[in-house]
């Protein structure tokens, strides 16, 4: 029953949420690792149950003379079921990405993200197994699950996030990758936690190998050191990297990750009327739209929404306007800029559709003005946006 229960949770994670990640290998795999938020507590509870059962047979195990091995194997059996469920979910995700037409296959940077996720699951199961061995109550199974869920929540909300975040991205990862130093520290932390938990169950082994109190403390320091390292690495678990993109068209040139290439003609068709309207009144427009463009670069960024909701013209207009406020100007904190932004959005829509709906909140120049007056207003508003950016 344990494996089907884990499979249900993995299935809920994959099919119970929207799947915008289907066109990127890294995003798909990294987002899949977020299933540890559900799977981790469940695996911890199941491991705790097995720990409780193994503890009930402690005398029998001790009499066999190979208690350490038996206990380790009991934990390994639970972890094996977790691995089966996790692998089944991962294969489903990979199949979904491939079926959506994404070219190529996942490579080592994508597959390396598996290590922290699996190490986290190993850490969660082994600590719960060890606690159940000492507590000697079946209640430790649900208690371990709830406790690990609360710890996960606490680390996500209060930090350090790097101590728990082995996956999960709410937007595209084009131009980004998980930081290798954070991944290494995570693996080190979770694996040392797992090993120490399993060793702590064998008190006799402990007593023989770590007679001195100082050595015991040194044993505790094994997971403490990478934990300190994780806390000191900062809140960012992702870093920017140069990414190979495929490009399409001229003026503007559109560049996106290989999985989105077949959508670029459609995206260009949506953007073109707005760019043409701006060019017609003599305003500079972006010559290149780039999915991996960092803030402040000469190219205009292509947000993931424009691929997911191509028919949503509001997204297209905001993609164009974003270029003029590209260095991170806080538009929402400035009432005048918000009014300008709304006016620009209205003007772009009116130019593309030819319709001029009556809106009393609009500036007079846009609502009642001539074409020249409107052009002057638009140039002034865009200038203000750029000035804010500067």
């Amino acid at each position: 029953m344990a494996c089907p229960a884990l499979l249900v949770l993995v299935g809920l994670h994959i099919f119970g949420r929207s799947r915008p990640w289907e066109h990127e290998w890294l995003w798909a795999i990294y987002q899949y690792h977020f299933s540890t938020v559900l799977l981790g507590p469940a695996a911890a509870g199941l491991a705790a149950w097995e720990g409780f059962r193994a503890q009930q047979a402690e005398d029998l195990l001790e009499s066999s003379g190979r208690a350490g091995r038996a206990v380790a194997l009991a934990w390994a059996a639970v972890f094996a079921w977790v691995l089966v469920a996790y692998t089944a979910g991962l294969l489903t995700v990979l199949a979904l990405v491939k079926l959506s037409g994404t070219p190529g296959l996942p490579r080592s940077p994508e597959l390396l993200t598996l290590l922290p996720a699996l190490a986290l699951l190993a850490g969660e199961t082994s600590t719960s197994f060890a606690v159940a061995w000492r507590v000697r109550s079946p209640l430790v199974a649900p208690a371990a699950a709830i406790a690990w869920f609360l710890v996960t929540l606490l680390l996500y909300v209060g930090g350090p996030e790097a101590a728990i975040r082995v996956g999960g991205a709410t937007t595209s990862l084009v131009g980004l990758r998980p930081r290798p130093d954070v991944q290494a520290a995570q693996v080190l932390f979770y694996v040392s936690l797992a090993v120490l938990s399993l060793l702590s169950m064998r008190r006799r082994v402990y007593a023989e190998r770590f007679r001195l109190r100082a050595l015991r403390l040194a044993g505790l320091a094994v997971p403490a050191l990478p934990a300190i390292l994780l806390a000191s690495l900062g809140p960012n678990v992702l870093e920017r990297v140069p990414t190979r993109l495929a490009c399409f068209g001229r003026h503007p040139l559109l560049c996106a990750a290989p999985g989105y290439v077949n959508r670029l003609p459609e995206v260009r068709a949506v953007l073109r009327p707005y760019l043409a309207a701006l060019e017609a009144i003599g305003v500079d427009t972006p010559t290149r739209f780039d999915q991996s463009a960092p803030p402040g670069s000469a190219a205009a960024p292509l947000p993931i929404e424009i691929f997911l909701r191509t028919s949503d013209h509001e997204v297209a207009r905001s993609t164009v306007l974003q270029w003029y406020e590209r260095s991170g100007c806080n538009v929402s904190g400035n009432v005048r800029l918000v009014q300008d932004y709304v006016g620009l959005d209205y003007w772009l829509e009116a130019q593309a559709t030819g319709e001029h709906p009556d809106d009393p909140t609009l500036p007079r120049a846009l609502a009642k003005g001539t074409e020249d007056q409107q052009a002057i207003w638009v140039r002034r508003a865009l200038g203000d946006l750029q000035a804010c950016a500067a």
Binding site: M1, A2, A5, G16, F34, V37, G45, W49, A143, I146
Partner: protein, 206 residues
């Protein structure tokens, strides 16, 4: 000459002890503390941009998750063979268990007592049913994971609950009330009516 104080029937005390009633009592204390400590403000749901929600509707989980480990004792061979009136004993234990599940909700008065009692009933019913349907190894999972899944997946932008996320619905939600009633009713019937637990048909687990 003073008369000796009347003692409760040792039969019920034995039953309480054999069915691990003290676990419920401790869980009841833990839930009471949790009701007093749980934050009022919404918390950001991990992995969901712009989604925040409160945690307090999920506090009854702390008592419901304990129920399967107590109720499973009803299916020990000794219990099944020795009990004279098994259905009556189960029924009485179920009433005690439900009372202990409901008591901590009172300390959650600063939130919404109706929602707290409704969720306690829903999760307890689920715990009763899962004790009969699933083996002890996984019987604790439905009452423990329904709240977690609801919180992680059952909320839309702005923290608005999806229709199936009954635990997060407001106190005036009739479907949520019906779901709680159905869960409790079905769970009690499954548990109180004497039968061989469903999981014993496939594999006997302790």
């Amino acid at each position: 000459m003073t008369s000796r104080p009347a003692l409760p029937s040792p039969g019920w005390l034995l039953l309480w002890r054999a069915w691990k009633g003290n676990r419920l009592w401790r869980a009841c204390l833990l839930a009471t503390i949790a009701w007093l400590l749980v934050p009022e403000r919404p918390i950001a749901v991990p992995g969901r941009q712009g989604v925040q929600s409160v945690l307090w509707p999920l506090v009854p989980t702390l008592t419901a998750m304990v129920l399967p480990s107590c109720l499973a004792h009803a299916y020990r061979d000794l219990e099944l063979a020795a009990a004279k009136s098994h259905a009556r004993q189960r029924g009485l234990f179920a009433v005690f268990a439900l009372a202990l599940t409901a008591i901590p909700c009172v300390s959650g008065l600063r939130f919404d007592l109706g929602v707290a009692l409704r969720n306690a009933a829903l999760l307890s019913g689920l715990a009763f049913a899962s004790t009969v349907i699933f083996p002890p190894r996984v019987a604790w999972m439905p009452p423990s994971f329904l709240p977690i899944i609801t919180w992680l997946l059952g909320l839309k932008l702005g923290g608005v609950p999806r229709p199936w996320a009954v635990l997060m619905q407001s106190g005036s939600s009739l479907p949520a009330l019906l779901a709680a009633g159905t869960s409790l009713g079905a769970g009690l019937v499954l548990f109180v009516v004497p039968r061989v637990p469903l999981w014993r048909w496939s594999r006997d687990e302790s």
